[in-house]
């Protein structure tokens, strides 16, 4: 094993490049992904290596970008489409929700849709209400779409490679504030399977399930609380659908306490779903009510102070953990 380190953005680009070299059916479509290298630089270098036929800059037409992905996937290609900001999937929702997610089932299984949809999400950059949302729950709520939220460069590469090789529609949500994060990414070939959570930290006292960038805050919170003698077990589901409920439930049955953390809004958010699933599977093991840490139910404000108040941070996670430990 090498001890190479890459940024999250480099890991994404490397995953795509490797899969494009491996399989000529893989190609890329999206806004400003070519010479420009993507709004967040995650496709940098691909245009130079693969050219305009396989790295296709599109007009600002999200509905046809995603819909053409469906058509190409149904007819023998393996497209990766990029929707620049997750907020913009609103413009592509018919193609994703009514077409991509449904065709295989509606056609009685006589179809495969090997389509990967990448999109950047998340608040904390001053992008305001229409460029900052965490809309994970929209896609989790649609049968027919699989959903992953890598939180490390290692997983960004490994999960994306798995998504590209999958014969299903996989949404890959990348947090914008993770693109600069660095982490170990071995030179050797690897993939990360769907539906396999990572235990980021083992502990006895409380299970924290955190998704996307919230894993980083939860890890901070866990370190701070360790000094006070609270031993946190931190689980990163990595893949939201399929969800590794087994790992989560085993942890909660051990710790008897659970905090769930997500960047989406509190009402009807991913944390609501995770809490409900834990209740279903672990109710009799719980020593305290499950606590949810989520974004406030307001649009993401522009002002930096207000924005940071809106989304969860380490201090909110610490408060929630203290509450379930009380």
């Amino acid at each position: 094993m090498s001890d190479r380190r890459l940024t999250y953005r480099q890991a994404v680009a490397e995953a795509i490049a490797e899969e494009m070299r491996r399989d000529e059916r893989v190609f890329l479509m999206g806004e400003d992904i070519g010479v420009h290298g993507g709004a967040f630089g995650a496709t940098r270098g691909l245009y130079n290596e693969f050219g305009p036929e396989r790295v296709r800059d599109t007009p600002i037409s999200e509905s046809v970008i995603a819909g053409a992905g469906v058509g190409a996937a149904l007819t023998g290609m393996r497209p990766i489409v990029e929707i620049m900001f997750l907020d913009f999937t609103a413009m592509a929702m018919d193609s994703i929700c009514n077409q991509a997610a449904k065709v295989k089932y509606m056609f009685g299984g006589h179809a495969a849709v090997p389509l990967t949809i990448r999109s950047a999400f998340g608040a904390g950059r001053g992008n305001a209400a229409q460029h900052s949302q965490c809309l994970d729950v929209w896609f989790n709520a649609i049968p027919g779409v699989l959903l992953v939220m890598p939180s490390t460069p290692y997983d960004a590469k490994g999960l994306l490679k798995t998504a590209i090789r999958s014969d299903n529609v996989v949404m890959v949500l990348e947090n914008k504030l993770l693109y600069n994060e660095e982490g170990p990414v071995p030179e050797e070939e690897y993939t990360v399977p769907l539906g396999q959570a990572a235990i980021r930290r083992s502990g006895r006292d409380v299970t924290v399930v955190a998704t996307g960038r919230m894993c980083l805050f939860a890890a901070d919170a866990a370190e701070k609380l360790a000094a006070e003698g609270i031993d946190v077990e931190l689980i990163d589901p990595r893949s939201i659908k399929p969800l590794d409920m087994k790992t989560i439930a085993e942890s909660v049955r051990k710790t008897n306490r659970a905090v769930v953390v997500g960047e989406g809004h509190r009402t009807g958010g991913l944390t609501s779903e995770l809490a409900a699933r834990i209740m279903d599977d672990c109710f009799h093991y719980l020593d305290a009510p499950i606590k949810r840490v989520a974004a406030e139910d307001v649009p993401i404000p522009y002002n930096r102070g207000l924005e940071l108040e809106t989304i969860p941070g380490a201090k909110d996670i610490i408060a929630a953990i203290r509450a379930v430990m009380a």
């Binding site: 036929e53 046809v64 089932y105 027919g144």
Partner: protein
């Protein structure tokens, strides 16, 4: 029209048009008997468009169809038995009873699906056309859409992208005069689609969609243009939906006189007149062809009615490809 269709071709299309017409009449009767759920949309009066355009395609070509898509499917080579079984929601249907009237599809014969979303199939067709281009085949994709879809974003995004990328897509604009209850003169600024196509640099032609011969030759030219790699083409076929938007539509939005006038322009009558005038068939032989089609449809209705319902286990089948435990 100065050009004259080959006798055999004219006869074949006439047979196909009867098969479509009588399929639709059977669906209407089944619906009125209460055997069909939801709503179903008949293409009675529009058969010359399906036969004249889609009937000319190769088996390897693709079509992307609409909610009023039974005729398109039959013209692409669809069989009556699995079609009617699908309309009745039976396990022997094209989609095992999971799609129904609005989602009949068969990738095997190149139908990327009827579509319940008006305009939803247009981007999919762009993707199929892109796929054919990337795979360097000479397959073309015909995308049928109506006056209702013609002013939606998908139509415009798709025409723009298909033109930019010079994709082998034939935009088949089937103007049947009404989007549910809204007359096309109340929904299409500029009056026709050819002027819009011109805005995207897409060549086009407009024909009387109830005149099989006119449709045939215009489609032949359009198909040749697209197959030769000249990029997209738009064919506008003006026709008329002789039935309501759905079976049971009270049709308050149009007069009986208007419908009566269009009944005199029934495309089947027109094709029959050509056959008789040219001495290809006698009237009696026309009735025999009608009776043959009726017998085929009756047999298909029997097949559909006596087919088994899907098993309860089918509910969870066909959602994903491979093992996915969601």
């Amino acid at each position: 029209m100065s050009q004259r269709m080959n006798d055999a071709r004219l006869l074949a299309d006439y047979r196909l048009m009867w098969r479509i017409r009588l399929h639709e009449e059977a669906v209407k009767q089944l619906f009125l008997k209460g055997n069909i759920g939801g709503s179903t949309h008949l293409c009675i009066g529009q058969e010359a468009v399906a036969a004249g355009v889609i009937g000319q395609l190769r088996p390897s070509d693709y079509i992307s169809s609409t909610h009023r898509g039974h005729g398109h499917m039959l013209a692409k080579g669809g069989e009556l038995k699995p079609m009617l079984a699908e309309v009745l929601g039976k396990s022997t249907g094209y989609c095992k009873g999971k799609g129904g009237s609005m989602h009949i599809a068969s990738l095997e014969i190149g139908n990327l699906g009827a579509n319940g979303i008006v305009g939803g199939g247009i981007p999919i067709a762009v993707g199929a056309a892109l796929s054919a281009k990337l795979r360097a085949t000479d397959q073309i994709t015909v995308v049928a859409f109506g006056d209702g879809a013609s002013s939606g974003g998908n139509a415009h995004e798709s025409m723009n992208l298909a033109a930019l990328w010079e994709l082998p897509a034939l935009f088949l604009f089937e103007n049947n005069h009404y989007a549910v209850s809204t007359a096309c003169h109340n929904s299409i600024a500029g009056g026709c689609l050819t002027v819009r196509a011109a805005g995207y640099g897409i060549p086009s032609a407009a024909v009387d969609g109830n005149d099989l011969e006119e449709v045939h030759f215009a489609a032949k030219e359009a198909i040749e243009h697209v197959r030769a790699g000249n990029g997209p083409y738009l064919l506008e076929c003006t026709t008329y939906r002789l039935e309501g938007h759905f079976v049971g539509d009270p049709m308050l939005y149009r007069s009986k006189e208007e419908v009566k006038a269009w009944r005199r322009r029934d495309p089947l009558l027109h094709a029959e007149r050509l056959l008789v005038e040219r001495g290809i068939l006698t009237e009696q032989e026309c009735r025999a062809i009608q009776a043959e089609a009726q017998a085929e449809v009756d047999a298909a209705v029997d097949f559909a009615e006596s087919s088994p319902e899907p098993s309860p286990e089918a509910l969870f089948e066909d959602l994903y490809t491979g093992q996915v435990s969601a």
